[in-house]
Structure formats: structure tokens, C-alpha cells
């Protein structure tokens, strides 16, 4: 490993002050040496041994990291059919480009709105487009990710209804449930699983949680869930794949009260799971119980339009232990990516992209379903992913697919015999799909 040594002068390329600068500053402070500044740190505990590598030259480290990155199996080099919460959609160059501007990337939370109008107006655009997409009038400026947004929606429903039981459909992804349990456990909230087919909502339920498309890729009847929830005085809380809303009915149209989602499909790279952004929307009358940052429109002393953080009395920096949440980020940079993506895709582009995902998925599903030993296990209308019962075990099937340079789907064997969830996006070509079908056809056919 090549290492960089400082040759006198500044201690690092990122630390400008030289020994002479430091000396001049210590003199100006009026101390003989640095130690005089840190007498509060117990002497016995100062300067512990530290085992870290020597500094690397940028050039050497760039090469080393490129090597590490290249050692991963990269979708694109491999045909990839993984979904289950994160999807490989194409991100137009323009959307990537604007999000990389240093003025966006290296600013901070807009506590000084006069010098953060760029971030604030972007957040307002994000709220507008997410609100329109979800069909609900109020969106916040962003949460950590989809699962945490879903979990916070359950907490919000509990606050609004002053009830502590949460009914979660058994078709909600287990990851969503696990996060909701972590978030709600110590607030005395009980999460009960229920089946949509014989759903009975008790009178002490805060909300019914539904995911659409669900863990099997199937579009849920959110309107029926809303009706059932409302009949018992509970709220309807939905987690949706926002890409599906390019064609399918929005939660708002289904009378859902709080709708959340993982923003990743809208222009955010897969990035091994993050950073992503959570979408969070609700009906107007519920907005004062929202978690997270919210940006509002206002005017300045000259009467010009501008934007500010608003409804801040809900938040931790004001309300402390009585805040609606401890969150103090809107994951603004990722929200910017989503805003730039939606602005670029626009009204027509998002619908066309969603329909293309639908078409690819249905072609793939029908081709695989026609294979001997394979069957489509998802029942109902699906969007871009579906469960297939395979001939061989999940492990055998996925292992064999990798040999064909195909990254298969996620394990659904608890829900269907040898079940695998396959997901498709507009980026999966017919050639890739045909290759998948051929490879599946070979697996186990000779044994």
C-alpha cells in the first residue's frame, strides 16, 4: 500500500493551517502550547494508542476502491430480477447531474431560509409532486426510508386515535413489520397480523396497515381496507411502491388516510440499500401530527414569495420529549433526486415507464408459468413483481441462475413451495427475460 506523508507545512490536504499558522494562533490565544487548551481532558486518558492505517494518496486509494467495487457482482453485468423493496430503474443523466451540484450537496438543513431557498424550493417541489402522486393533499419533505416512514405512520395513527392496537395485513413485507415493531414496541403498541380476506377491525384499532403492491407483488384493494378501517374508527395506512402509481389508483383515491412509500424507485440508485428517502403523505386534517420536516410557502418583507420550514412546533428541537418524532432530517439530497427524476419523467414519462414495467413483468411471468415445473403463485393483479413456485429449491435455483450470470429474486418459500419473487423494471430487456426463462427451464430438468 502506498502511503502519503505530510512533508512539513499543512498536516493534510484538507487541513490548511501550517505549523507557523498554528504557532501564530496559539500566540494570539495567549497560550504556550496546545496542551493548555485541553486541560479539562483527564491527562491520564489523553492520546490513547490509535491503530489506523497511514494516509493513502488519492490516486492509490481511488484505484484500490475501484478494485473493491469491481469485486461485487453488479446488476447490469448480471441480469437482475431482485425487487422486494428496491428496484433497478433507469435514472436519466439529467436527474443524476443536478443532484450532484455542490451547492445542494454541501449545504445543511435550511435553518436560515434566506440562504437556503434552493433547498427549500426543491423540498416544496418534492412535496407537491409526491402529494400529487399519492393523491393526498399533504406531503412532508422526506423521511429516512420507506420502512421507517411506514413505522412512523403507525405511530401517528396511534397518536391521532389515542388507540394502541395496529392491524397489519399478513401480506405486508416482513421487513416493514420488523421496523414497525422496533419503533412501536416501547410505546405500548401491539401489532396484530390479519388476513384481508376475513378482515375484522376491532374497535380499539388505531389503524389498518396495508402494502400495495404487497409482498407477493399483488395490488391490494386499498379502498376496501379503508372502508373496513373507517367503520371501526381506525385509520387506513398504506405503503405503496410509488412507481406503481404511474398507472394504478393512488391511495388518496382509495380514501387512505396516511400513505407512505419507499422513494428509491424514483431516481435513486440501488446503492446496496441506501441512502434512500421515505415518502410520507396524509389527509389535510391530520397534518399537525406529521413527523419530520415540512416546507411551506410564505412571503418576505418585500412581499416576494419564499419558502421556510414550517409547523415546527411538532418537532424535536422545539418540543423535545413531546415531539411527534425524534427525526431531524428530511433526507433532502435524496428528495432532490426524486424531485429531479419526477420533473424529468413528467406526466407522460412516469406512466410510460410504469406500463413498461408492467408489460415486462407480465411477459416474464407468463413465460415462466408455461415452463414445466414452474407456476405463478401470485393471485390477483400484479404490477412489476410476482411469486413463482419453482421446480427445485430456492437455494438450488438461485445458485444455478448465478452460473448463468443472472441474479434471481428473493426467497418466498414461506409463502409458496420453492417460491421466489421476481421483479422486473423497464431495464430488463426481452433478451434478458428469455435468458432467465431458458435458464430456469434447464434447472433440474436433467436430474
Amino acid at each position: 500500500m502506498t502511503t502519503a506523508k505530510s512533508s512539513g507545512g499543512s498536516p493534510s490536504t484538507f487541513i490548511p493551517n501550517t505549523d507557523d499558522d498554528q504557532r501564530a494562533m496559539l500566540d494570539a490565544i495567549g497560550v504556550a502550547d496546545f496542551e493548555e487548551l485541553i486541560t479539562d481532558v483527564p491527562e491520564s486518558h489523553r492520546y490513547p494508542a490509535l491503530n489506523l492505517p497511514e494516509a493513502a494518496h488519492e490516486m492509490s486509494l481511488a484505484a484500490e476502491m475501484a478494485g473493491l467495487a469491481a469485486s461485487n457482482f453488479v446488476p447490469g453485468d448480471y441480469a437482475c430480477f431482485l425487487g422486494s423493496g428496491a428496484y433497478r430503474h433507469y435514472v436519466p443523466a439529467v436527474a443524476r447531474k443536478v443532484a450532484n451540484r455542490g451547492e445542494f450537496m454541501t449545504s445543511y438543513t435550511p435553518y436560515q431560509p434566506e440562504v437556503a431557498q434552493g433547498s427549500l424550493q426543491v423540498a416544496f417541489e418534492f412535496q407537491t409532486m409526491v402529494s400529487h402522486l399519492m393523491g393526498l393533499p399533504v406531503a412532508n419533505a422526506g423521511m429516512y426510508d420507506g420502512p421507517t416512514a411506514f413505522a412512523e405512520a403507525a405511530l401517528m395513527a396511534a397518536r391521532l386515535t389515542k388507540r394502541t392496537k395496529v392491524i397489519a395485513l399478513d401480506t405486508v413485507d416482513e421487513r416493514n413489520i420488523e421496523v414497525s415493531r422496533s419503533y412501536s414496541h416501547y410505546q405500548g403498541i401491539e401489532i396484530v397480523r390479519a388476513s384481508a380476506s376475513d378482515l375484522s377491525v376491532p374497535d380499539d384499532a388505531a389503524c389498518v396497515m396495508v402494502q400495495s403492491p404487497n409482498v407477493n407483488g399483488v395490488i391490494e384493494d386499498m379502498a376496501a381496507i379503508s372502508t373496513a378501517a373507517h367503520a371501526s374508527g381506525a385509520l387506513a395506512v398504506a405503503s405503496v411502491n410509488p412507481m406503481s402509481l404511474g398507472m394504478f389508483k393512488s391511495p388518496g383515491e382509495c380514501d387512505v388516510d396516511i400513505a407512505t412509500g419507499e422513494g428509491q424507485p424514483l431516481g435513486v440508485p440501488l446503492g446496496f440499500g441506501g441512502p434512500y428517502v421515505g415518502l410520507f403523505t396524509c389527509k389535510d386534517e391530520l397534518k399537525r401530527q406529521l413527523p419530520g420536516r415540512i416546507v411551506g410557502k410564505t412571503t418576505d418583507t418585500n412581499g416576494e414569495t419564499g419558502y421556510v420550514l414550517t409547523l415546527q412546533t411538532r418537532e424535536q428541537h422545539i418540543r423535545r420529549e413531546r415531539a411527534t418524532s425524534n427525526i431531524c432530517t428530511s433526507t433532502q439530497l435524496i428528495a432532490l433526486m426524486v424531485a429531479a427524476y419526477l420533473a424529468t419523467l413528467g406526466k407522460q414519462g412516469l406512466r410510460e415507464t410504469a406500463e413498461l414495467c408492467y408489460q415486462k413483468a407480465h411477459y416474464a411471468a407468463s413465460q415462466i408459468d408455461a415452463l414445466d415445473g414452474y407456476s405463478l403463485a401470485s393471485e390477483g393483479t400484479f404490477f412489476n413483481e410476482f411469486v413463482i413456485s419453482c421446480r427445485e429449491s430456492v437455494q438450488t435455483t438461485l445458485g444455478a441462475l448465478i452460473e448463468h450470470k443472472i441474479i434471481g429474486g428473493t426467497d418466498a418459500s414461506e409463502r409458496a413451495p420453492n417460491g421466489i419473487v421476481f421483479a422486473l423494471t423497464e431495464q430488463n430487456s426481452r433478451a434478458e427475460i428469455d435468458r432467465l426463462v431458458a435458464a430456469l427451464g434447464e434447472i433440474g430438468s436433467t436430474s
Binding site: S12, F14, P16, P42, H45, V94, F272, G274, C328
Partner: protein, 485 residues
Amino acid sequence: MASMDRRLLMDRSVAGRRAVTVPEADVPLTPLPDAELLRDDLQLPEITEGEVVRYFSLLSQLNFSVDTQYYPLGSCTMKYNPKLNDEVASLPGFSEIHPLQSDESVQGALQVLHELQDMLGEITGLPAVSVGPLAGAQGEFAGLLIARAFHKERGEDEKRNVALIPDSAHGTNPASAAMTGLDVVTVPSDEHGNVSVEDLRRLADEHTSIFMLTIPNTVGLFEPNILEITKIIHDVGGLVYADGANLNALLGLAKLGDLGFDIAHSNLHKTFSTPHGGGGPGSGPVLVTEDLAKYLPTPVVGEHNGKFSLVSPARTVGRLNGFQGSFGIAVRAYTYIRLMGLEGIKAISLNAIINANYLQSQLKDDFDVAYDRYCMHETVMSARRQKANGVSALDVAKRLIDYGIHPPTMYFPLIVPEALMIEPTETESKETLDAFIAVMKTIAVEAQDSPELLHEAPHNAANTRLDEAIAARKPVLRWTNEAAD
């Protein structure tokens, strides 16, 4: 500035325009589902690629940022963000891998996470690490869940229902404690800006679950009684939590584990130079002693015979987010630590502390210092002297904008009236600090001679002062069709 075209996307939208085309399907078509399942309308803008670029570029120019301005925002550690970090995170092998790929197929990514766990553990002296939490506040939440799990296993969870938190703490501390069901009891500060040890001794008892302490504290001071403080809590059977927001002061100088802390979080977007992004994404790894490792949130990265895998600790407090945290942020932090190396890491805190004390020493004739003693990496000053002439901390902050400098943090911590919290960071040069000092001295004179200049500031920003009261009273939270109204 007011003449700039700041119309919103929907006001720029013209039916039929588009910024991207989508290919035709290359597969046989399947009929769309029943119309009742489909939406009728999708209200999104219709604009061209050129306009998308111009609009977002224009907006970016309305921001102050570290790349363009001096940004001494206290408690936020607005240091320079090395550009290699972003490039590495954008490598296809990192940015395009799926979070649910098999461990064997992402060994390079897992190696980065594993080495970052080790390096953070080494720097803090808290060796067991999960980089999963998505922000400092989620790291706090994870830490508090760990404390509850620890007490529960000892059969003391019911009894230990109190989180002790100093009155100078960030708001997230009490908010996170409330989310874990703990009662918050506030510990007062003494006249020197430290935790009142006397009060702490009085408040700590068999009900104490955890004591949350920011170190150095939010006044920028190191607790001189830290060893006594951690002992007081341990003696009553409680745990001690370090809010790592100010870790930039301690790199190579002291290890949290050595000082008696049991649990901590680190803000990668502060200490480890990942971009703040205009308000996230952050990343808040949670760090604990070896004894508490079994409670870490899932997953962590394990290593066996050179093979890396995602594992769930034996008594994990559970899953806190969708996958394995902000990997893209972790990669940046890892790259940063490697670029800095051992000597560079040690130079960070030394320079941050000298810079802060230099500012404090040069400004204390013009502004009050909250506590007149040497500070660590940031100094809390006060405009209470100016207040006598009707000039507030807010006025001083807004006037700085006119001079092209981002304001310090204002009115925090809550225990200091008219607080101006200034954190220079180690990446600013003496020349930059001298220019800032000169501006602050000018503002001090202006506050005396022409206070109206300050009351009306800023004069040349994208907006003059904005009406936050009306925004909250009559919230407008999305675009409305004003042409149709």
C-alpha cells in the same frame, strides 16, 4: 435577486413537452388491468430537459454551501467534503448493487462496511459497531433500545425507566428517549457550563436507565469531571451514552470507551465529512462495548476466514430500517478516514480546537463568551451585550449573510441567552478565520451605530426576512394553481 425566474415546475409546464422518451415495449403486450384499478390523471410537470437543468441549477445558486461559502454553523461540523468520497460512492460496483444480493456477491461492499466498523470502533474505543442507523437521531434511538434490552436481561427494565439528560442537550436526546418509553429527567448545568455533578448525584438512582451526554457538550466544553460522572452512573447500575455530535473534538485525543461511556453514536456527516445534502442523508452508526455487542440492531457485518457476511446479533434490538443503512454514506466516510490516515485523523481535532479558541480569543472583546474558558472545537458566544441596544442574535446572524458568510447556529443551546454557536472546523484557514473576525467586529460596530442595518438584514439574499408565523398559521404546503383561483 428578486428578478430571477423562480416559477415552480407546474407553472413552467406546457402540455406535450417532455424531458425524456421511454422506449416501446420489446415484449408482446398484455392487456392493462380493469380501468377501475387504474388512475385517471397524473398531475406532474411537462417540461424539456434544458429547462430541468436550468431550473435546478438556478435553485442551487440560491443556497449557501460549504463548497461556496464559509459555513461556521455550530454543532453541525460543516467541514470540507473531499470529492473523491463522492466519486467512490458513485462507482457502479457500489452504487448499482442491490441490497438483497447474496453475501457472496457483494464481498467488496461488505469488506468496506466491516473495515469501517473496525475503524470507528478503534477511534472511539467502543469496539462493537453497527453502521445501520440512518442518522444521529436513529443512532440514539438504537442506543436507547440497547440500554433497555441490557436492563431487561438483568430483570431491571421495569424499574429503570428514566433517561437523565442535561438541559444543554440537543432536542433529539429527549425525543429519542420518549420514543423508547423512558421518562426524561433533566440534569441542570452548573455556572461553568458543565453538568452539575451535585445534581447528577442527587438524580441518579436505581431508576436510572441511561445518562445521555454530548461530549464535548453543546457549549463546546469538555466535562472536566467526566470520570466522576461516568462512575456516578455506573455505581447506580445505569449506562452512559455519548452523543457523538461533537466527536470532531476528540479524534486521537481521547476515546469514549476509555472515559467510561458504554454506548455512543457518531454522525458520519459531521466528523467523517460526508456531505450534509441540504438536510440529509445523515448516518449515525451506533457503537458499544464488547459486552453490549449482542444487542446491536440488525444487521452487522461479520468476518470469518476472510469472508464477510451480514449477521444478526444474538439478542438484537431488531431492525431499524429497510436494509443495511446508508451504504453510500458509509463508503464516503471510509474513504475519508483512509485519505486522512492516522496522522491526519489526529490533526483534525488539534486544528479544530485551535481554530475555535482563536476565534473566541479574537472576538471576546466584541461579543460576550457564554463561559469564559478555553473551548474545544466550537465556541458559544452571546449577543446579550448587543441586546441592550435592541440587536438580537438573529440580527447578527442575518447581517453575516450580507457579508457572504453563513450564520452560526442561533439560540442553541437553550441555556445561553442570545446564543451564537460558532464552529470553525479544521478545514478553514487562518485567512478565512481572520476575514470572519473582521466581519464580526464590523457587525459589532454596526450594532452600536446603525442597528437598523441589522434589523433589516439580509439585504442582498434571495429573499429578505421571511414570515414564518404566517407560514405556520395558514400552511401552503404544495403548488396551487393560482392562475385558476
